[in-house]
């Protein structure tokens, strides 16, 4: 678990995009460095990227509209890409999606590279698409993303409500890779965050070896669906 040595670590500044193939048996700990971070993320089976994170399958297998420790991220092929093994936040948003250029320009105003150098205004959609292209993936590979550290609640009428202050400085969430998972991660602000200023926050990343989950693993045993999801994942590697 979290007492194994860190293999490497890195801080992703606000508004940036990062990618990495998180190997089966390693874990990625994301820490909200300053409070109020948002980490949008999409996940692919690195060996066959047409197998990718599936938001509806993740939600309906576990009857959830939020993510926290004990839940897992499902691919569209019935396998577990990552497990949420540790979480000090309690709620991560799988619904709200990502910002795009139009939203960022309308909400925060325009700020170009020519005028602002590397403080130019970035959006999550373009960040995802550029990073996907580095791995040979394109717009047809873009799927619904998770927003770690953010919370969006849904009212009885279906209305979506962004809850500010969900994550504090030092809050963390840890994902254990159950496959070799291409992670595309972006630190732009949540698209439903009403804050009027462009102020995306940094996220600290640390990777460590944790080994495969045992038979008493809490994510495996949190519900019968996940038990079957782990069986199908283990069959893939058998």
């Amino acid at each position: 678990m979290s007492d194994t040595p860190i293999l490497w670590e890195e801080t992703v500044p606000g508004g940036a995009t990062w990618s990495h193939v998180l190997k089966r048996g390693t874990a990625l700990r994301m820490t909200d460095a300053e409070g109020g971070a948002n980490a949008g993320a999409i996940f692919y089976n690195f060996e066959c990227p047409v197998e990718r994170y599936n938001m509806p399958d993740t939600l309906k297998a576990q009857h959830i509209a939020r993510l926290t420790a004990g839940f897992v991220l499902y691919s569209d092929m019935g396998r577990v890409l990552c497990s949420v093994t540790e979480d000090s936040v309690g709620w991560h948003d799988p619904l709200g999606g990502c910002s795009d250029a139009v939203l960022v320009a309308e909400r925060y105003g325009r700020a170009t590279y020519q005028d602002c150098r590397n403080n130019y205004h970035k959006n999550a959609m373009d960040g995802f698409l550029v990073e996907l292209a580095k791995w040979g993936l394109g717009p047809r590979d873009l799927v619904a993303n998770v927003n770690f550290f953010s919370r969006v609640t849904v009212g009885a009428d279906g209305g979506m409500h962004f809850q500010s202050g969900n994550s504090k400085a030092g809050d963390f969430v840890e994902l254990r890779a159950e496959m070799n998972v291409l992670v595309i991660l972006n630190t732009c602000q949540h698209p439903l965050d009403p804050a009027p200023r462009y102020a995306p926050k940094p996220v600290h990343l640390a990777i460590r070896g944790v080994g495969p989950p045992g038979p008493d693993d809490p994510c495996r045993n949190s519900r019968p669906e996940n038990g079957r999801g782990f069986i199908l994942t283990e069959r893939y590697f058998a």
């Binding site: 509806p56 309906k60 009857h63 939020r66 569209d76 394109g138 799927v143 279906g158 439903l192 199908l232």
Partner: protein
């Protein structure tokens, strides 16, 4: 039909067909045309994907659609938004009142997780989508199957962040109408799911009608 508030002349529809239970349907809807989907027998999930007919990389996005309207349910007035922010269609009439876009489409693999590993060989929506899109050709493949709409399906989210599958609120004859704002490709899987109440455990045919612009 009960529940119908028909304002359109059925005889003037340029297209009027029935999709049998468990079958795919792929068809182009031109800008300005109106598509009506009729739940002939009640509580039949109609899993539906839309694409910009001139660029299949620009396709319906569940997250962009619910984010723009700040509401997870689709009904009259909902604009269906693409990954590039294009308004693909607008829901112009709806006698059902609520449609889902979070529950996704069933698959052999998700049925194995949700119900039992031996459910692998039951017919499922994503196999229908693949059959429909492969027959349509033009390079369509599995990665074009993204988060879909489930017309006539009721999937509430609670304030505590739970996703629930409730009995349908649709009835025989209820329908939804959509106006195409650009030329779109529509792919439907008339859901064959037998493991949960989304089709009242009895998948049934649905009717598709298209009218030219008024």
């Amino acid at each position: 039909m009960t529940g119908s508030t028909t304002k359109r002349d059925l005889a003037s529809a340029i297209y009027n067909e029935v999709i049998p239970a468990g079958e795919p349907w792929v068809f182009e809807i031109k800008k300005g045309q109106t598509l009506r989907l009729v739940d002939l027998h009640g509580n039949q999930a109609v899993d539906t994907l839309f694409y910009n007919a001139h660029d299949y990389g620009d396709r319906y996005s569940a997250q962009d659609t619910i984010r723009r309207q700040k509401n997870i349910y689709l009904s009259t007035g909902s604009k269906l938004i693409s990954t590039r922010g294009t308004v693909l269609l607008t829901i112009t009439d709806d006698t059902c009142g609520r449609h889902d876009t979070l529950g996704g489409a069933c698959a052999n693999e998700s049925n194995m997780v949700r119900y039992s590993i031996d459910k692998r060989f039951m017919h499922a929506c994503r196999s229908s989508f693949l059959k429909g899109l492969l027959d349509w050709g033009r390079g369509m493949e599995k990665r074009d199957i993204t988060s879909n709409i489930n017309f006539f399906m009721n999937v509430p989210v609670t304030p505590e962040g739970r996703l629930t599958f409730e009995d349908g609120i649709s009835e025989p004859g209820k329908y939804v109408e959509l106006r195409a704002e650009i030329d779109v490709l529509c792919a439907i899987s008339n859901c064959p799911q037998l493991n949960n109440p989304c089709n009242a455990y009895n998948p049934t045919p649905v009717q598709v009608l298209i009218w030219d612009a008024d």
